[in-house]
Structures are given as C-alpha cells and as structure tokens.
C-alpha cells in the first residue's frame, strides 16, 4: 500500500552518500527532496567542522586557537573561495548561479582540505580530516545531484587547486602556512553558514517535487 512509498526515497538518499554501499535503485528523486537533503548535509558538516576546527586550531597552537584571534586578510589567502557577497547580489542570484557557486566553492575547498590531509602530523587529525573530506565529497555530489535534477549543467571543476599543483604556492614559512590553514577553515565554516541560507532560499523557490513511486520486489 501507501507505506511502501518511503523506500524509494530512503534508497535515493543512501545513493547520494558515497561512503555507504550503493544500492540498486532507479527511482527518480524530486529536486525538492534533494534540496532538503543537501540542506541537512550542510548542517551536519557545520556541526562536524566545529569539532574538527577546534582540534586543528589547537594543533596549530597559539594564537590560532585563541577565540578572539582576528588577523588581517593577507593577499595570498584570497585563493580560497570566499562566501562573502554583496547582499543585493546574493538575493538576485538565479537558482543556477546559486547552486553553481556552492558547487564550485566546495569542490575547491575539498581540494585544499585534501592537501591539508596529506600534511598533518597526528593520526587523530588525519582520521578526522579524512572523515570530514568524505562527508564534504558527499555534499559536492548532493549539490551536483540537485543541479542535474533541475537540468543545470555542472560547472567545470578543477582537478586540484586552480592554477598550480598542490604545494606550488607553498607558504614561504611555517607561520604563513598556518595562516593559510586558519583562513581555509574560516572560509569553510562561513560557506556552510551561507549554504544553509542558500538552500533555504532554493527550498522555497523550487516547487515540492513528486516522487515517482515504483514498487519493485526487493525482499523487504
């Protein structure tokens, strides 16, 4: 009866998380539901990041782990994509532009984080970073899924940090390297806050989708 309708939805939700075993599902997922999922993912990541950032900044040591550390922005740090945007511009973004900005930002942030992952000292940090990167990858795929279901082309993503292979723009000294890491985490945090708002806006604008119910025998 009607209660079987839940399963295609759950199945598609699982498919969007690459860390979990892929299930054989062919149901179409409405854009409305995947926007909700993407929104939920950003909240989950934001929560995860709080713990990760705390651990990482402690690893960097003072002054990076001081709560009122407020350094000026150095020119080199602007390689990391910034969530900061003019208010009216942000309001006026088309759905496509809004999603593309998120997709591009997280793709690049993921690259930078992976570089970080290869460099950190402690096993605990490596483990946390790896887990976070996996979740972040899930977010990128989720955003991609939303774009596809709405018929938007995926932005051409760079394989690594744009312009040069990792390490080419290496900081000349240890302190500047730590500053880069600090700003990377800050931008990531701000992006996750922004994405929650981006996806709220998208939720309202994209009409609730119809989930196609295909009842197939699965042995449930």
């Amino acid at each position: 009866g009607d209660s079987w309708g839940i399963f295609p939805f759950l199945c598609a939700a699982l498919c969007n998380l690459p860390a979990l075993p892929a299930l054989n599902c062919s149901e179409e997922l409405g854009a409305g539901q995947s926007i909700q999922q993407t929104y939920d993912l950003t909240r989950y990541l934001e929560h995860q990041l709080r713990t990760l950032a705390g651990t990482y900044l402690n690893y960097l040591g003072p002054p990076f782990n001081e709560p009122d550390f407020n350094p000026p922005r150095l020119a080199r740090a602007e390689r990391v994509p910034s969530a900061t945007v003019d208010l009216d511009l942000w309001r006026g973004l088309t759905d496509n532009a809004r999603l593309a900005a998120n997709y591009r930002a997280y793709s690049r942030l993921l690259c930078y984080l992976r570089v970080l992952d290869g460099q950190v000292g402690t096993a605990e940090l490596r483990h946390r970073l790896a887990h976070f990167c996996a979740s972040l990858q899930g977010l990128v795929l989720s955003i991609g899924g939303v774009m596809s279901s709405l018929g938007y082309p995926l932005p051409a993503g760079p394989a690594g940090p744009p312009g040069a292979p990792p390490g080419a723009h290496a900081a000349p000294n240890d302190f500047l390297k730590k500053m880069d890491d600090f700003w990377l985490l800050k931008e990531l945090q701000t992006w996750l806050w922004r994405s929650a708002k981006d996806f709220n806006r998208l939720k309202k604008k994209v009409p609730p989708a119809v989930v196609t119910l295909r009842l197939e025998a699965r042995g449930f």
Binding site: D2, S3, G5, I6, F7, F9, L10, A13, L14, L17, L20, P21, L23, Q33, Q37, D40, R43, Y44, E46, D68, N70, P72, R73, S82, A83, T84, V85, D86, L87, W90, R91, W183, K186, E187, Q189, T190, W191, W193, R194, A196, K197, N200, R201, K204, F220
Partner: protein, 335 residues
C-alpha cells in the same frame, strides 16, 4: 562672566573671585544663599571634599558695592567608568545595532563616540534618535569571514573610558520575541490548547531566513515547564494540558541556523475547554449527565507516527543517517 566648572566628588575646590585681589573684601553665595566666612581664605572660596549636594551656582560680590564680580556653575561628578556595550542583529540580514550605557551615573554630561571597523574598513554607525545611546549599521556584505570591531569611548570633563567588542557576523544574530501570541481553548477538547503567534515584525525576510520556535507552557500551579521546539509554522496545539487548569504559555524565536534564541515573548494565559456544568435537578439526571460526559474527558491520543510506514526491514537501511530525518516526515504523509 559666567561659566561651568566640573569637579570630582571628594576633591578640594578653590574658587577665585574673578580678577579681584586676594585681600579684597567679597561675599560669596551658593544658589543665592550667603556662604559663611569660615569657608573663605581671603577672597577665595575653599570647598573641601565636595559632594554632589554642593553642585549649584556660586556668585561672588564685591564687599561694599555688591557688584557681581564672578559667577560659576559648579557641577560635582565623577569620571566615567567602563561603559557597557551590546551589539545585536535582530533584523538579519539587514544589519545590526549597538546600544550602550554607563554602569554608574557620573552626574555630569557625557559624550559617547562609537567606531566600527570591519577588517580594514571604517564603517559609520548611524545614531538613532530614539532611543538615545543606540546606533545602527547596514550590512554591505553578507557572509563575511572578517570580524567586526566596535569601540565605544565615553568622555566627560573629568576623564574618559572605553570598551571594545569583537564579533563575527553570525554570532550576534538574535531575533526579537514572537509577536501576537494567542492561546485559545479548543471546543470539546478538554486537554487541548491552540497556540498561534507571528514572526517578530523586525525580522525582515522570514522567507529566506526562516525562524524556528520554542514554546514553553505550564499550568500556573506547577513550576516545571514543558518545552516544544518547532522548526516550521507559527502555531501549535498542546494536547496534554491538564483539564480545567489555567496555563501560562510563552514562545521564543531563533534563526533556523545561526545566532541565539530571542527572549521569551509576553506570556499568555489560557484554560482548556471544560464542559458547562448542567443544572442540578434530580439525582437521576446528575448520574445520567456524568456518565454521558465521561467519554469527552478521555485524553485524546497524541499524534502517533504510523509504525507501518516506518518499518525498515534491512539492516543496511538502518545505517542511513538521513533515514531518521526523513522517516518521521514522510511517514506522517503516508499515514
């Protein structure tokens, strides 16, 4: 020749009679009352260890001619203590406001100067006419990673002091409490109360920046609150109220994702519906009435999640972390 003179509480004040010589014969008055000669040193007026009550107009008259030679307003006060500064965004994403006050009065006029720095940029905080001691700033950019640094300096004739606040854009978001909270009984439902409210009018864009709400309620006779968090909608039906008891209900609001909870709204009172007592005539009729109305006092079932729809047989499915989030929502749809 009249002017104002500011002195600290507890200070020793010496007033000279204008250009008169030290040995001139003069008379001093305070607010029109003659001052005793014991306070004079020649033509100088000496006030030791001044207190607030000594504020007033001091005049000096030449001895014989009673010409007014000098006049001054003495204002006794204190230099300012460190001011109290608060900044808050109750109208996100439009901007934020800062308000301030002194912890203790100085009894003399104070001047406040506020500066707001965002990274390398100086921003102008526009002073509000009402209330005083408040200014507001419009955000030019949203989702900034750079902190805002607000410095408030207070100056008066006896000294100065200052305080600084540094914060992220998201940290100061705190909406005003929900408005127009209304609680009504539900006819024929002795354990229900229908509560509704509105978004605070200061919140400019609830569409893009939705609010979530926290409702708390208790019967007046009990101290312990019950809480409900609501991520959607501006109404809720309480279904477990004690029959016939008056309730006190409040609602708070928060941006869905960032910032802190608002203060509690104004409290509203409501009592669930109770059946009108029928006229007592014969004993038989009373018994009849009681048994007939028993059914209406049964607690109505609280909303149950249909377990049928939530059954997920496979172990692999249980791993899915989103299942928990969506099962509840979707199951209700499929009840």
């Amino acid at each position: 020749d009249s002017h104002i003179q500011y002195e600290r509480v507890g200070a020793d004040v010496t007033m000279k009679c204008g250009s008169m010589d030290w040995d001139a014969a003069v008379t001093w008055t305070a607010n029109g009352t003659d001052i005793d000669e014991s306070h004079l040193n020649g033509s100088y007026l000496i006030l030791k260890n001044v207190d607030l009550s000594q504020s007033g107009q001091y005049s000096c008259y030449e001895g014989s001619s009673w010409h007014l030679k000098y006049q001054t307003q003495l204002r006794v006060g204190t230099p300012p203590k460190e001011p109290v500064l608060m900044c808050r965004s109750n109208n996100y994403p439009k901007g934020f406001y800062c308000s301030w006050h002194l912890p203790t009065p100085t009894y003399i006029p104070n001047y406040f100067n506020i500066s707001v720095i965002h990274g390398t940029k100086d921003m102008v905080c526009e002073k509000d006419a009402v209330p005083k001691n408040r200014c507001h700033i419009r955000y030019l950019q949203l989702f900034s990673t750079v902190k805002y640094k607000v410095t408030l300096t207070v100056t008066n004739a006896l000294g100065k002091n200052f305080t600084t606040l540094t914060f992220d854009e998201f940290a100061i978001v705190k909406p005003d409490p929900p408005e127009s909270v209304v609680a009504k009984p539900v006819p024929n439902n002795p354990r229900r109360l229908e509560v509704s409210w509105q978004n605070p009018s200061s919140w400019p864009d609830p569409e893009s920046f939705p609010l979530k709400f926290f409702l708390r309620y208790r019967p007046l006779i009990l101290d312990q609150w019950q809480h409900v968090e609501l991520s959607d909608g501006t109404s809720h039906t309480i279904t477990d109220a004690y029959a016939g008891k008056e309730y006190i209900i409040q609602v708070a609001a928060k941006d869905n994702d960032i910032g802190t909870w608002s203060d509690w709204s104004v409290a509203v009172h409501a009592t669930p519906w109770t059946e009108e007592p029928k006229h007592l005539t014969t004993e038989a009729q009373i018994t009849e009435t009681t048994s007939a109305s028993t059914s209406s006092f049964m607690a109505p079932p609280t909303t149950k999640i249909c377990d049928k729809g939530a059954v997920v047989g496979s172990g692999a499915m249980a791993v899915c972390w989103t299942a928990g989030l969506v099962v509840a929502a979707y199951s209700i749809l499929f009840i």
